[in-house]
């Protein structure tokens, strides 16, 4: 393993194309191989500098792997490579209709506890959210391929709300299941 790793994109590190639809199994396999090759234990008898580089490589490989593994952070990273700023916390304007829909969805999550079978309601909510996420993923893929990066960024921002809603549904499911036991 050469120091060159530090100049590569995360996609190049795992030898996959710069694309949203990467083969995550392949990435996982290469991740394990890379991890072994730079494992600090292999450098037990090496000099301090070599050890330090091995550790830096390990943490780079970890960061690259977890960035590519997660759909939202993968998409964000792709846009960063194209020079778009994804970190801005202060950019709050979004498609009002989408936000309205999100608000209604959150309201329905809160109201689900009053339903006769809240758990199956929550399951169908997860299915709805899953479909939305799939749709946004497809949008992102196409927009990115067509170099419509601003629109692709919007799709990612929407994904973040879907992920948050999913998290809330899952948390409520767990809470209700605990109460049933």
């Amino acid at each position: 393993m050469s120091v060159d790793l530090f100049n590569k994109s995360y996609f190049d590190i795992f030898n996959v194309p710069l694309s949203y639809d990467i083969d995550l199994n392949k990435v996982g396999e290469i991740y394990l191989k890379l991890q072994k090759s730079v494992h600090p234990d292999r450098y037990a008898n090496s000099g301090d500098q070599e050890k330090r580089i091995a550790m830096q490589q390990t943490s780079l490989i970890n960061q690259a792997f977890y960035t590519l593994k997660d759909p939202v952070s993968r998409a964000q990273y792709m846009l960063k490579l194209k020079g778009l700023d994804m970190d801005s916390e202060t950019d709050t304007t979004m498609d009002a209709e989408f936000l309205m829909e999100q608000m209604e969805f959150r309201e329905s999550i809160m109201e689900v506890q009053d339903k006769s079978d809240p758990l199956s309601e929550l399951d169908s909510m997860l299915a709805v959210l899953g479909k939305k996420m799939d749709g946004l993923s497809k949008d992102f893929t196409n927009l990115f391929v067509n170099a419509s990066y601003d629109a692709a960024r919007e799709a990612v921002r929407k994904m973040q709300f879907i992920i948050k809603a999913k998290k809330e549904v899952n948390e409520l499911s767990e809470k209700l299941e605990d109460e049933l036991m």
Partner: protein
């Protein structure tokens, strides 16, 4: 994270939670969202003919700081003119609620919600 007393107060007793008819001509609605934390905020104002905010309501799905920020601005906006309301800045909100730096973006969300609500009202008035 430890919330300040003021945040806890607004969080436990949120002021002016509610909904107005978004199609009413004297109502302005501001919808904003923060992708980083998935917070969604809706702020609505009811404006008199002479441009005074008679009433303000909100609904926020988010953390305690986001709820407190929106609750606080509904209190602050009442009785103000649209121009005065627009002068409410996120740092005023953050200071009043003693928000820690990592939660300052919640106050930005509230400031943006004010702008969005005022703009929505102005657009209705203009057309």
């Amino acid at each position: 994270m430890a919330y300040s007393e003021k945040v806890m107060d607004h969080y436990e007793n949120p002021r002016n939670v509610g909904t107005m008819d978004k199609n009413a001509p004297n109502v302005g609605t501001g919808m904003v969202g923060a992708p980083a934390c998935g917070d969604v905020m809706r702020l609505q104002i009811q404006v008199s003919d002479d441009g005074i905010i008679e009433n303000a309501v909100f609904k926020t799905y988010g953390c305690g700081s986001a709820i407190a920020s929106s609750s606080l601005v509904t209190e602050w906006m009442k009785g103000k003119t649209l121009e005065e309301a627009r002068k409410i800045k996120n740092m005023d909100i953050a200071e009043e609620l003693a928000l820690p730096p990592v939660k300052v973006h919640c106050s930005v969300l509230a400031e943006d919600a004010i702008s969005a609500a005022v703009e929505d009202y102005m657009k209705k008035k203009g057309s």
